[in-house]
Symmetry: C2
Subunit: 330 residues, 2 copies
DNA sequence: CTATAAACCGCAATCGTTTGCGGAACCCTT
DNA sequence: AAGGGTTCCGCAAACGATTGCGGTTTATAG
């Protein structure tokens, strides 16, 4: 790496380093003439300021940390994508670290973030994360932390989430509107708060608006569990007329089973899911779903971050609205 | 950000900064006693070295640049994921920038990479990238550049690619083995080398091993074009008995059309695709495909990078083998 | 022909580390 | 007791940029 430095430019022009520095950033102290000379040479030599030096000197890294379970996931990738885009437009960089849902690695990654003196952190915690002290330490050092998607229960934290209750309710209402009477609802890991929220809202919407509807609730830890459950339920004599899936992961299992059984949507059974949007559009008819957009969440998180850095008072908890995307399966 | 520094530790212990620095990295000059004192205090105060200062001083950023069209893409995300993992294990960070297939932004991003004094670059160029001078400049500055997936034609560059010819041939051979006689082959952008390679291999495999097979070649720039082509071809009186798709993007369009027309796989028509693996497994029967693994490609690219940095002589072009993953559609 | 203020520029400290070199202090040898 | 090794540590100069402050010109005015 042999980049030109201010010093090099300075000696070539017989000027001082400080003059070069000022000229390059249009400081009023510098005359138009030398300013032009300097920027021309800089252009010629392809001068690029050494970000490390700048950040060291200004004590400002313009770097955001981004902690996710995994990059290779349709939802996180859309989140990351929008954060990256916003960051770049605003002159920030991002440092992405995945923890593979391992709390140990999560801690390790936080260390890396601190070494790099990030100016803010976006974090999606692992299901096993119980000790938040490492995150607290960040805040003590005046590094704003914004939790997203999977967030801690504790109060006093900045969180941006999908509107889980709303998503659950919207799905339920859509089903009720179609006057369905027998629903198989498949949720994810029972111990995650996201599951609980969606389930509560879903169930209580029925209780209030359509108590006569019969709802069977199942929890599936992964795609293949969901698939088996669908197989089991559709084999019954009084099979459900509608299936609800809480997530893409479950939806994949559901679709696998439905296709295996040659079930025709929505004739034989109706289907609605909560999803980021990719999977539902792969099928025909397209699957009706309640959208929870990673992209929107990313943008919201970023706005929140900028507000925090700007010192504005901000709401602690924000959510992105869920919207029903009608398809052909309900 | 109010992290402890070497200076702070030094003054607290009445030692010099250099001693602290050496103690923390087990320099033999430092006695066991003070070494322990120092590391205990460091532990207590949660000292983390300032990466910017370290990198500035050592002129080594331990940072890799990663330039991709988009993060939210099943293939790139698996590539990125494996690069990140390897990098982290080896004490490197990565800086990811997406260019949205815009050559303008690509240039801009290269500037950012240079500002951050990356020690190596992984780049997937845009289809419109014609001017490689910005990349050349990187190499002049002794920053190794490894092109992956979409690579320039030029010689003398380090490239890691999917085995495009092999993939095309494997698909063709699989079709030939099934004694299919009429295939519709849909490829991507005709101007991309990846398209040409896959097409050449595909076609010539037929020419050599089964010249009597009738092949219709189509190019689709996106999902919906592919979909329309399938509609058109399957409406003909002598419709194809097999469809070949070059990529996930095209596969999605194909499947959309097939489902819309209520075509049953593989009874009505056979199907084989080249894919990263996610999409084919969503359907039943699972789609037979030739796997081109982003994860393997990432690992290969990383190895190549480390070899380059280590100064070893390395092969310019590397490829990851394609393998046929049998499904139920051929 | 001097004051006086712009206009323009350089000095030097600083950010937090690393590292070559030199220098005490101590022990051992003869 | 003088010389020669060890052992342990500090000085100070970097790395490349930013910035407060002060100093020189030059122009303008009185």
């Amino acid at each position: 790496m042999n980049n030109p430095t201010l010093k090099k430019l300075a000696s070539m022009l017989g000027l001082s380093v400080s003059t070069i520095s000022r000229a390059l950033k249009n400081h009023p102290d510098i005359s138009e003439a030398t300013r032009k000379k300097v920027s021309e040479l800089a252009q010629l030599l392809d001068y690029e300021p050494n970000a490390n030096a700048v950040h060291l000197r200004t004590r400002n890294s313009r770097l955001f940390g981004l902690s996710v379970p995994s990059i290779s996931n349709n939802f996180y990738e859309s989140f990351i994508s929008s954060i990256e885009e916003e960051a770049r437009k605003n002159g920030f960089s991002i440092m992405i670290l995945q923890n593979g849902n391992d709390a140990q690695i999560e801690i390790q990654n936080l260390k890396l973030f601190r070494q790099n003196r990030i100016t803010g952190l976006f974090a999606c915690i692992t299901p096993k994360t119980v000790d938040l002290s490492a995150f607290d330490k960040m805040k003590e050092m005046e590094v704003p932390v914004i939790f997203f998607d999977k967030v801690p229960e504790a109060n006093g934290l900045h969180k941006v989430c999908l509107a889980d209750e709303q998503a659950g309710r919207l799905a339920a209402e859509a089903i009720i509107r179609k006057k369905k009477k027998k629903v198989l609802a498949i949720f994810g890991d029972e111990h995650m708060s996201i599951t609980q929220k969606r389930k509560e809202a879903f169930v209580s919407a029925f209780r209030e608006d359509s108590p006569e509807t019969e709802i069977s609730i199942q929890f599936a830890l992964n795609t293949s569990e969901a698939r088996q459950q669908v197989h089991a339920y559709l084999a019954k004599k009084d099979k459900p007329d509608t299936i609800f899936s809480m997530s893409d992961e479950i939806l994949i299992g559901v679709m696998k089973a439905l296709q295996e059984m040659h079930i025709v949507l929505p004739t034989d059974v109706s289907l609605i899911s909560i999803s980021n949007g990719l999977i539902p559009k792969l099928f025909h008819p397209e699957i009706t779903y309640v959208e929870t957009s990673g992209e929107k969440l990313g943008r919201l998180a970023f706005m929140q971050m900028m507000a925090l850095l700007g010192g504005s008072q901000v709401l602690q908890d924000l959510t992105v609205d869920a919207v029903l995307i009608p398809g052909g399966t309900l």
